[in-house]
Amino acid sequence: MMKKVLAITMAITMTFGLMACGSTKTETAEPAAPAETTTEETTEAETTTEDAVAEVAAGADVNGDGKVIVGYISKNLTDPFHAPINEYAEKTLNQMKSDGVIDDWTGILDGETDPNKQIDRADECITKGCDAVIVLPAESEASDPAVTKLADAGINVIVVNSKTTSTDARAIAYCGSNDVEAGKMLGEWVVKNVPDGGKYIHCTGILGNSAQIDRGAGIAEVMSAHPEFEMVGEPDTQWSGDKAANATTDAIAQYGDELVAVICDNDDMSSAAQRAANDAGRSDIICVGVDGNQNPLQMIKDGDLGATVLQDGVGQIAAAINVITALINGEEYDSAPVIPFVLITKDNVDEYLQ
């Protein structure tokens, strides 16, 4: 009996507790307006210094709590492409905090490549009173509520690496690279290395992903201008090296010497494909992909892989942090900095290999 009574009491208390929570909202956006009027009313002598302070604060401290807090919602902590990005952000933001440029930051919030979790992390950034939040979206569509939620709360959102649906409308800046360019660089590398042409396959990323669509478009643009090349397959390899390696061995079995190249949407796949080709005694097959992960870079250094197209993730996050610095200093900033891709071959691999 006791048990039941207790359980019911608990349920009721919780319900009421939550109901009470519902009524206390509506504050966030207001403080900005009164702050302006007070600075206008003060005498000229005082304003010279105070005005300057107020303006700077208005630029970065959007919620008017006198602190500048930065949020960082990562895509994940496991992807080799994202590891150096997170590392750079952690180092730089910690430095900014100890230099007093920002008052605090959230630490790296783990998005777990899960839009649901990213939206939850956005809630926490709002709770913590963040003024600017960097988001690396897991999905273009499903992660979008994280961006809109933050923007609705008046927070400056900076989207990095890949766009969400409403990034252009709601975020203050997008720091990424043009994936069509990367696709073109892939195509050009193949054309340059196999002047005679031949058959090739294109291993795709997860279908519908913006990077997959744009890189595919870039590849198609270059390859369509070269009729000596024929695409014989576009396996759905979902960014997975393992699947790309299987697709490569299948294609070698099917087309034999006619297969000259494997173009991949990322270099986890191209390195796995090259390894599969090398193991099959076909090191002449040109495999190339995008990202610049450490493993493919090591293969280039060892001479096992011809080239890879580096997506400068650190450059992207650096650009995003620059936007925040500009906000704090009240300076103008580029709302869509395009970070160029870099073609990495044996000649320049040492600069990027760690």
């Binding site: 939550l18 899960d114 939850d120 759905d236």
Partner: protein, 324 residues
């Protein structure tokens, strides 16, 4: 120390009952106080609302999981159920332009059907629930990839997204759903014949059968309810993200199992309480939320999470033993 004083003043049996069943509540309370002291923004009504909204998805799955574990089984297919229901919603609403509520009904029916299928296979052929649900989750996720073509289907219907963002009596809908389902589950498990059958089957199958309990229908019922609840979770999930995808819900069974275990659900079967599981659900939610607000580096968070779960369960075990 205070416990000993209370023993004298309070009815001894009641205290035993309280500590045995709800010792985990103290863990939850302690956790909230500690996080609240370390980070003042944690103890705001807005943050509690956030957490309650966030845990609604895991809450639905955990209740289903709790039933399965109580009968001595497990339901590993819930994550895949999430994906399939989501894709059904995407296909029906966006691709076929079906009415939002009809589509939700269809999606729930699909989820419930696969729950039923799990239960049927487990109960009819006496197969291990672990193996059955491990296999069906592959089938279910595969189906969701087939019907969605592996692509994300965007859901722009405001009525549908409202399931996550709208409010009822000042409470976001996911919280309302969590409260309603919690009450229903409480009544189902603790006040109905079906609930007693679940405990009976989980506690001692042979004794249950000898007393005339249908093992078959109890198990089928349990997995069917689990499927239905995964469907509800998927509706909230899809309304939240505004996108139907076949790659969602991977690993969600882990958090659900953790919530059940924290809530005192015994893997040996036959022991579970709905309020306990509810507290387990909130502990999981507060672990994520609290650590992020305090600023615990994400690299250490899963270690902390694992330690908290083991620690909480250990504490519960120790308290139970002493009070038994």
């Amino acid at each position: 120390m205070t416990g000993k004083i209370k023993v004298k003043s309070m009815n001894n049996d009641n205290l035993k009952m309280f500590m045995g069943k709800y010792g985990i509540g103290l863990v939850l309370l302690l956790m909230m106080v500690v996080i609240g002291i370390m980070e003042p923004t944690f103890a705001t009504s807005k943050n509690f609302m956030n957490v309650a909204t966030q845990v609604a998805i895991n809450g639905m799955i955990s209740y289903g999981m709790c039933l399965a574990i109580t009968t001595g089984g497990i339901d590993l297919a819930v994550g895949a159920q999430l994906a399939l229901t989501s894709c059904v919603l995407g296909v029906t609403i966006t691709n076929s332009g079906m009415n939002v509520w009809t589509a939700c009904g269809v999606a729930l029916m699909v989820a419930t059907f696969f729950g039923f299928l799990n239960g049927f296979l487990i109960a009819k052929f006496n197969m291990f629930p672990f193996v059955v649900t491990l296999s069906t989750q592959l089938i279910i996720r595969g189906l969701s990839q087939v019907i969605s073509g592996g692509k994300a289907i965007s859901l722009t219907s405001e009525a549908f997204k409202g399931i996550y963002s709208n409010k009822f009596l000042g409470l976001p809908i996911p919280i309302v759903i969590l409260i309603v389902i919690s009450i229903i589950m409480y009544l189902l498990l603790h006040w109905t014949k079906f609930g007693r059958y679940i405990f009976a089957v989980g506690g001692n199958v042979n004794a249950a059968i000898a007393s005339g309990v249908s093992e078959f229908w109890t198990k089928v019922g349990v997995y069917t309810v689990s499927g239905f609840l995964a469907g509800v979770a998927a509706i909230i999930f899809t309304a939240k993200t505004g996108s139907a995808q076949s790659n969602i819900g991977v690993g969600y069974e882990t958090d659900a199992v953790a919530a059940c275990v924290l809530g005192g659900t015994s893997f040996a079967g036959g022991i579970a309480t709905v309020p306990g599981v509810l507290m387990g659900i909130f502990i999981i939610g507060f672990i994520y939320n609290g650590m992020n607000l305090i600023g615990v580096s994400s690299y250490y968070q899963s270690i902390v999470k694992g330690c908290v779960i083991i620690g909480a369960v250990l504490l519960d075990m120790v308290m139970n033993k002493r009070n038994r």
